[in-house]
Amino acid sequence: MKLSKFPYLVQAEIFGNMKTKDLFWLSFVSKNMKKMIKSFQIMRFQSISRITYNNFNNKWYVGILFKKKTMWTMENCMGMNTIMTMSEHLDGTKNVFKLNVTGKTIGFRVSDEFPLPKAYFHPRVPEAFFHPNLKESAFKAIHNYISDFFGDTVVYQWIAKSYKHFIPQLPNLSLWVTMRPHCPEVTENIEKFFASYPNIKHLSIRWDKLQSISPESQFYQADSIRIFQPCLPSLQAFLRNFKGRQATLLKCECGFVELIKFMKRWRSGEALQNLEYLNLSLTFGRHRNEVLSANWVKRTTATKRPPTHSVADLSAPEPSYKPHTDPIISRTYIVRETDNRVASVSIQGKTFSFGVWEETEEEFLRMLK
């Protein structure tokens, strides 16, 4: 059967009926084929939200997440969202073949090592394998191929479950890092890590010595941060130095004084200029009255419903599951002195939420219903 003998529209229909991972492997057959798939599948590739590189058991899984939940579910539930894996190991090698991946020859195998039911979660996809010393260049070649194939509408996301894991230095690769350094870990090592990877998109961290990180560290510039159990000095340092967009701090030891200080700093416009959303879950105290009693905290009229604040959640590992931050509906708000922009402030039980609007106070008040 010669595929090229089929009319153009029939070839397009065949490609349309193929799983994304099969199209990906088809693209390796020839340059012309790759070009043709890219031109036929523009819509499908534009519906991809993220391509993730995820490490699990010494193996990297390259997966696809679609923007629409339905598409994501369809492929994912069938174990189809993994398009390939990468590994340093050479054990149990079967069906070895070599491919030219953006100019670098890389060995592959089709692994059938997983018996059912594990195979359901580990679909039979080709696996690139390479010597540990060649890891960096192999990742680079593979990422370059993938990003050229799927295009620049996709977010390419490297998910590292530890700062000690290998993370390649590649352009257009968003970093999602989870860090649980041991208590004795020296600050220098942590700072070195942040200096090496200045463009972290999301960081999830638990460390008792966060306050020891320099205010100039790239740590404070991560787009989105989730911190577990920050002690008071850590929390104070964080609220003073954070330059990113979204932060969630869980189980904070935080009094109302810190909250008022934070709001004052934001209000003055001297810090936290990029902040969109802050959520603190507090371990103790009910600070509602103290925090909201400051005379610069304003209230909307009781007869009208305040607008709901919610922005795209940068911490969501899968945007189709939780696309937006938790909604904030609050009558209390503060206004930034430098540009007159508004932030909604809410305290519900032990949760402090702070959502910054694009709108000025005048525009914000017009949104009341």
Partner: protein, 188 residues
């Protein structure tokens, strides 16, 4: 299923046998048309079954043939093998007036037959059957390595593509040179 008999290449086709009707007898007598492929075997197919084919449906919608006229003027599809046309006719009969199921497992498993069926179905513009066939073609390479895919679909390598491109350029160059020479000759 429609039954057939070997036809001849003469203008008057052999008497075809009637395809049994899957639907209950309609109140208005149904009209029938006749088609044949490369092998000249004539198939009698109801207008209802032929509705699946946008091409044939377009051809017959304004004809207003009587039974005799239709029998005397079968639609020739010389580019379609007899057994492939038989498959298409069977499919149209089986799915006459019914919603098409999400999958069709009765398609040929042999690569070459499926290939011919795709071309025929595309030519006859039978959208649903084309979708089934394309799904089946797509399934052929599921979970296969690039080299296995190349073999199954006979996809040329980069080197072969380049050689073919060079050859095409050479040919085009020669043709252009020939045309220029001919034009110069005419001018003289």
């Amino acid at each position: 299923m429609s039954s057939t008999e070997q036809g001849t290449s003469s203008a008057a086709p052999a008497e075809p046998t009637t395809a049994p009707e899957s639907a209950a007898a309609p109140e208005v007598p149904e009209s029938f048309y006749y088609v044949h492929g490369k092998d000249k075997v004539v198939h009698k197919v109801s207008a209802g079954a032929l509705q699946h084919s946008a091409l044939i449906h377009g051809m017959i919608s304004n004809l207003g043939y009587t039974e005799e006229q239709a029998k005397a003027n079968p639609f020739p599809f010389e580019n379609i093998d007899g057994d492939i046309l038989q498959m298409v006719v069977d499919w149209c009969n089986q799915h006459k007036g019914k919603p098409t199921p999400p999958e069709d497992t009765n398609l040929p498993k042999q690569k070459e037959k499926l290939f011919d069926l795709v071309l025929a179905v595309n030519y006859l513009e039978i959208k649903e059957l084309l979708t089934y066939c394309c799904k089946q073609v797509a399934m052929m390479v599921k979970g296969k390595s690039p080299e296995e895919i190349r073999e199954i679909w006979m996809i040329p390598t980069d080197a072969e593509d380049e050689a073919a491109e060079k050859e095409a350029k050479k040919r085009a160059g020669k043709e252009a040179a020939g045309e220029t020479a001919a034009a110069a000759g005419d001018a003289k």
